[in-house]
Subunit: 106 residues, 2 copies
């Protein structure tokens, strides 16, 4: 699959932001990063796959925990530096056991 040129351009400058939104509820569950490989794997496998900046490697969400994300739809924004994954979440998205990583309020 061809990656749109806005995204290719953004990826040439660095990582892009990937927002995982539960398709049923529209709740935003997490934000993680993607390089080109992570995006390609996500498109091909329909399993959300990200790039870890701290470990400097690709990771499949839920590979060890079982809390996988089935990707139903992928949208991207005008300047191509963010993708919105519309997903079906198994279990919780957050490693704390909370449903969403955005459970802290400022």
């Amino acid at each position: 699959m061809e990656i749109p040129k806005q995204i290719e351009e953004a990826l040439s400058k660095g990582l892009i932001a990937a927002i995982a939104q539960e398709a049923d509820s529209n709740e935003v569950l997490m934000m993680a990063w993607m390089n080109q490989e992570a995006l390609r794997k996500t498109i091909e496998t329909r399993r959300a796959t990200y790039f870890s900046r701290s470990r400097n490697e690709i990771w499949i969400k839920g590979e060890t925990s079982g809390n996988v994300q089935e990707v139903l739809e992928i949208k991207f924004d005008c300047d191509g530096d963010a993708v919105l994954l519309r997903i079906k979440q198994t279990g919780s998205a957050c490693h704390t056991g909370q449903k969403s990583c955005f459970h802290n309020e400022l």
Copy 2:
């Protein structure tokens, strides 16, 4: 207002991602970037304020277009590199006139 230490730590390494979600509909309207100043201004003014990577400056969303974002709630994730703004959008979020910047599908 004190900025939580996870966010301070993330900001010391670079920009953080700011996701604007319409509070009423839960629709994700856009993603932009923040540095510490943008986050502080957003907290203080309750007007979504971002940092432009291309222009290398702070910008108040809607300052010229009138399409401002009133920030009702700010959530942040575990590792502090993303904030979720729960907003009330005036007009459209996207410069194309579409409601959301995520109007393209991959």
